[in-house]
Subunit: 420 residues, 2 copies
Amino acid sequence: MDTSIESTIERIAKAARAAGRQVAKAGAAKRTAALLAIADAVGRRRDEVLAANAEDVAAAEASGLAPAMLDRLRLDAQRLAGVQRAVREIAALPDPVGQIVKEWVRPNGLKIGRRRIPLGVIAIIYESRPNVTTDAAALCVRAGNAVVLRGGSEAFRSNQALARCIEDGLIAGGLPREAVQLLPTTDREAMTALLQRDQEIDLVIPRGGEALIRFVAERSRIPVIKHYRGNCHVFVERTASESSGLEICYNAKVQRPGVCNAAETILIDEPIAKSFLPKLAERLQEAGVELRGDARARQLVPSMKPATDEDFATEFLDLICAIGVVDGLDEAIRHIERYGSSHTEAIVTRDPEAARRFVDEVDSSTVVVNASTRFADGGELGLGAEIGISTTRLHAYGPMGAEELTTTKFVVFGEGQTRS
Amino acid sequence: MDTSIESTIERIAKAARAAGRQVAKAGAAKRTAALLAIADAVGRRRDEVLAANAEDVAAAEASGLAPAMLDRLRLDAQRLAGVQRAVREIAALPDPVGQIVKEWVRPNGLKIGRRRIPLGVIAIIYESRPNVTTDAAALCVRAGNAVVLRGGSEAFRSNQALARCIEDGLIAGGLPREAVQLLPTTDREAMTALLQRDQEIDLVIPRGGEALIRFVAERSRIPVIKHYRGNCHVFVERTASESSGLEICYNAKVQRPGVCNAAETILIDEPIAKSFLPKLAERLQEAGVELRGDARARQLVPSMKPATDEDFATEFLDLICAIGVVDGLDEAIRHIERYGSSHTEAIVTRDPEAARRFVDEVDSSTVVVNASTRFADGGELGLGAEIGISTTRLHAYGPMGAEELTTTKFVVFGEGQTRS
């Protein structure tokens, strides 16, 4: 490894650690002021950001980046207004730092409290969308943390321009500029060096495809919160309202198929399959969804392709849907245990006991009764914003908002107590 | 790596995953019944456990194990009664599984809740004390988890005998016997294979010396909660009550010097050093404490040895104490930032503003005002029992009880809502 890269990364990590202490101490009002100033700076530097982005887009087009990726990369006046709005919304969130989560008194008179404190320093590693730069920075600062950002190489100029807006805002708000630092290179070497700084960085959140997440998880000495796959299920139970079942399945699959909380598999309870499945198939096929069914589903709707075992394990992120017919709740739960990714599953039912068992026994980070899987999202659940959706159970499970970027410490008030 | 060890470990890990689901579903009453039955089984198999332990002790003596380690290893009727009592206390703790941590309603009518669920499968890797076998198993089961135990080789026969008691109890309580599994070997190879099973195991907690913790952290693909060092400080601020300062320093240093929440460094505020420090030195020296002071402290108490920079960074775990004189709260906080281990620090003061600033600005997992550092303990803080004390910030920071062995999932109840 190039020692100059290592020493650059060391300097950045140490500066982040020191800045994190300042952000934590600064208090909610200063953090809010800095966030609002970041949003203002994005407005002020609009032309500069758009010009940098145009260069990124031109280079990406020349290198033949796929149209979907180009679309993620591209900023325009409207999207930049969205960037500002998102930062202002985060500025308006309740500041979690200092909240007393619990308090109690011990028999010896000690007053104990658990107080919310920032995690410290967070590294965010992401791909092509430049708005992650401001969203992630704002949410980390809201929760009192410093952050080191490493975006994708195709968005490097855009990210640098946004980082200048962030720096303006931090300084205007009286926070150290090192509270948010963008790595000065997108080399993998630099990222690997960053992942070794477990003395200064408390948490790494990779946001992107499975390859990126595995790359980070395999090299990191720092704890990583992973968001692997969203292989989400809807189970239409025998007592379901037919119209509700149709609406929820349609919304979960079709409304935005490319995102992690879209449904990939729909399971139909056997007693209603004969009447329900043909109607569902018709609605989905009209919307252009390719259906892949198990043997029982294909008996009822022969136009479906046969589903392989792998289809049931796949996150299509596309207008493709696996369909299975199951014999009741237990078989549905076993299917989800076997193929699911612990992200989000929904049941449609009018039987309170079936709802209760589904919620108790399904092991996913979000379990939904009679609503679309698409609500598994920080904003929709009321967290205000999200930095990602954890599919591992440690520290946070499911959508992560500002509170999930904090931890708690014990605070003990005595009057001279000693231990005997 | 020996493939037969790998396949044994794979079988154990998969059985733990399946058993964990059963323990989670079983409900609080069954978990309580199993825990009480474990305590009963320890009583019933008392002679067998003591005989196994006597063999361990004899082998350890023959191999020349240090007396302090031998003492940790040794069980007798009284200690075994303590083992039973500890398990019964854990059985009496509130069961955290299923608790609703928070509930709210969204503008679209969705009812959202965060519900406490078990972490899943926990691996505990520990050294010579056999009572960790029952304590750790009981606390994991209380929180609805399965656990894989890997104890020290010198306690292997004792741990096997205790594992038979646990198996009896699990079966009597109607839980699967694989809910608590002791590795059949203490080979490092087997431990290393275990640390690769990130598909089945959710968390590893190493309990022991720094070498063990580093070994585990460096090899684990599973998240590790580390408890490295307790380099705890007491700061006697200028407004402190003299008698309270003396009592707290004495208790923090002397009452049990070999544990992680004992004080290692005492900092004295300059304005009171001249009157306070000689009295403190006398009390500590009478108790056999070796004092190592900085230049200003040695001017006041010349009998102290000089303290090196390394002394201030050392967890002595012994009757040795580093002493420093500081110019006020800010210097004390900077000293703690520089040398501390984020475990526990205490201030003695009568100034509410000094107390407030110390609590706000000191970054340790437990911050104490006017009481001994020795209260940084799950039992003393009111958690009922503890599985360790985390000095890293992710998931849990400070003493970890049953609640810290759980996570939360989002539960969403709708009436047909879809996303637009």
